[in-house]
Amino acid sequence: MSDLVHNLQLGFATSLSLLNIVLCLGGCLIGTLIGVLPGIGPIATIAMLLPITFNVDPTSALIMLAGIYYGAQYGGSTTAILVNIPGEATSVVTVLDGHPMARQGRAGIALGIAAIGSFIAGTISTLVVAALGVPLSELALWFGPPEYFSLMVLGLTLAIVLVQGSLLKAGAMVLLGLLLSTVGADLETGQDRLTFGFDELSDGIDFAVLAMGLFGFAEVLRNLQSFEVQPQVHTTIGRLLPSRADFKQALGPILRGTGLGSILGILPGNGAVLAPFASYALEKRLADDSSRFGRGAIEGVAGPEAANNAGAQTAFIPLLTLGIPPNAVMALMVGAMTIHGIIPGPQVINNRPDLFWGMVTSMWIGNLALLAINLPLVGLWVRLLRVPYRLMFPAILIFCCIGIYSINNRPGDVLLMAGFGIVGHSLTRLGFEPAPLLLGFVLGRLLEEKLRQALVLSRGSFLPFVTRPVSCGLLIVAVAVLIIALLPAVSKKRAQVSLT
């Protein structure tokens, strides 16, 4: 314990230098802005800013780049809530209840609770990283292909709980998502699958391309078609910040979301994307009246947002303690460290304690900064809703295009996104929800990858899935979730709900 205090002191001594505070704030601000712009994500931004970090100390550089990363997580939820476009895989769930809240004139409350929830989650998970980072990273190593596969199976059952309308339609969407995730070169042989001869597809479909198409483009199309009057934000902006009652309602979900996010964030292979989905499903189950979900339930924003931010923080654990990046942004951080002559690995914590603890403590400072940046900005963001559609829509489309192009510098991706826009619009018209499709897509790649790895390792035997205890436990939970969901009583309740 005294070690921890000592280490945190060392960390704060590093992170509280004037330069580092300025860089942390700067990173958070840039991150918030790019997070808000649909389509422009932290990957492209960090890549562009890498050169300017050449001339500062590596710790300072990393503090700034990390600020961009979790700043983008905050900013992404703003776009999700206000204009129904998830900027990141992790804010897909925020759309479900965040946007309905905005339509009811409660955008300020949704943004406020997202910021507060993220801050609480950030604070707790920073402590988790500081206190348990090293032992937890060992835990992640036990997670072999069979365990990962079973976790993904459990993740898929969450789709059932996500559903707001027809179960059959949602199932179809999950399958479509899984199918889309198999597009591209086969993992083992490299043969192209479902690419129809288009070279652009041989690396698979990028998540951002799909999400921006299904949500961003489709949202614009939907609004154009329905000639909808802009939601009545003009008159009912309402409270800008959550009331005490709102906060009380959201506190439980925030804490549970933090727990889920912290655990899933540590897993290799981007387990963090599952966190908001899991949190949403959990809150919907726990709620007295689950029918409020999808129609602006504050728990549906608070929980997933907290889970998202906690996962974003604990994702640093495998990077800083093992040198293994769990997602694309972290891979970029590896590059940033390497350029500065610090190759991430298990020794960083001993060789460069100032860097390790400086980064950990700067995360908390960054979260505080983000709260300070975001709460006053809520008023400004809400006013953005007043921007006339004729100005807002072209801007959304342009930013989506720039953002998508900046990911891989490939024009084909922009066209693909436009295509998915049309698909997404048609699906919504036909009463299919895009969220289960995205869940299927996100899980599909890992599901297939881990299944095949596990089968190669077991020489084709399915036994390891049930004989390995962690894997078996996860599968049992998945079956239990399915049974509960399909029990007649529950189904009846669901039917009643969809009637009302």
Partner: protein, 344 residues
């Protein structure tokens, strides 16, 4: 095939041009601050240079491109802008580079995969590594290590090899995806030993390394920069380095020759190329800038810290790179064709 090329080209031009223009304006402003306001009569370079890196930002090749690019920018007096064009094992970016105007303002960082292994792995490859480029110079070679999980039963490389031969039905090799450096180099290793282990495919070195550290798989081959810290931290075991001399970054790891397998010598080299038709004097200027970068103390130290091998005098010429490409294509093609794999 033709169809896809056509559809990809229609939108490419206007978007790309606009983006380039925007960026050129921004960088032009930066160049003014730098103090070199160019006029049309000035010699090359009079504007920023785009360097295509065919892999994601943050990976080994990208890191090398950024470290060398930084000093080259100083020598040339113009910014070298890194553009990461990813896809199809790096061949997407190199294809775009090969089709660019040969004026020296678009260059690319190719590597063993894109300029030696690709012809065997990509039957539809749209460029010829030997004919469609003007080689600028070899930048950095990164040695290949053979590593295993930390409790692997063999005591040294000889025992390791013997164990693999005796238990080839039981052992599992991890690699970072068809066409990756870890795949191609371990293909060579396995074929030289005459073994057929189960090959477990991962998407990238990170997840493969994770499972190696967790003991789910037995061994893998990869670049030193990806593995050195985990070896020093005792999370995995290194059996040999596939170079003729030990690496200063890992002095305790013996060479393959010391372990009785001198024929397994391989390095993932990274080198600068310009499109075909780039004038000789422009290539010479770029080669000179690269050489100066490799001689710069800071740049040199950064690259050596990564475990890189820097070419010496004769190895730095464009001609030497051209010869290397020829030699490497001839070496890799039959080995990779034999696996029947197609690049990702």
């Amino acid at each position: 095939m033709k169809h896809s090329a056509a559809t990809s080209r229609i939108p490419r031009l206007p978007l790309l041009k606009r983006w380039r223009k925007l960026r050129a304006v921004a960088l032009g402003a930066a160049a003014c601050v730098w103090g070199t306001v160019a006029t049309a009569a000035d010699p090359f370079p009079t504007k920023p240079i785009t360097e295509i890196v065919p892999f994601a930002a943050g990976g080994p090749t990208d890191v090398i491109a950024r470290i060398t690019g930084e000093h080259m920018s100083k020598v040339l007096g113009q910014q070298i802008v890194i553009e990461n064009v990813t896809g199809a094992g790096g061949t997407t970016g190199i294809t775009r580079g090969a089709q660019a105007k040969g004026d020296g303002y678009t260059i690319m960082m190719g590597h063993m995969g894109t300029h030696a292994a690709a012809p065997a792995l990509y039957p539809k490859l749209k460029y010829n590594p030997e004919k469609d480029f003007e080689p600028i110079g070899l930048a950095v070679g990164t040695p290949i290590l053979i590593v295993a999980k930390k409790d692997f039963p063999a005591k040294d490389f000889k025992e390791f090899v013997a164990y693999l031969k005796a238990n080839q039905g039981k052992v599992n090799e991890a690699h970072a995806g068809v066409g990756s450096v870890s795949f191609t180099t371990c293909t060579l290793f396995d074929s030289q030993l005459g073994i057929k282990p189960a090959r477990v495919a991962y998407r990238g070195t990170g997840p493969a390394l994770n499972d190696l550290m967790g003991g789910q798989v037995d061994y893998m081959c990869d670049q030193i920069v990806n593995l050195a810290e985990q070896i020093k931290g005792g999370k995995i075991k290194a059996y040999a380095i596939a170079t003729d001399q030990r690496s200063p970054a890992l002095p305790d790891v013996p060479t393959t020759a010391e372990g009785g397998m001198p024929q397994f010598q391989v390095s993932a080299w990274n080198a600068l190329f310009a499109p075909k038709g780039t004038p000789k004097e422009v290539v010479a200027k770029l080669n000179d800038a690269l050489a100066k970068a490799l001689d710069d103390a800071t740049t040199r130290k950064r690259l050596l810290d990564l475990g890189g091998i820097l070419p010496d005098g004769a190895g730095r010429t464009p001609g030497a790179l051209g010869d290397l490409v020829k030699k490497e294509v001839a070496r890799w093609t039959p080995i990779l064709k034999a696996t029947g794999a197609v690049g990702e």
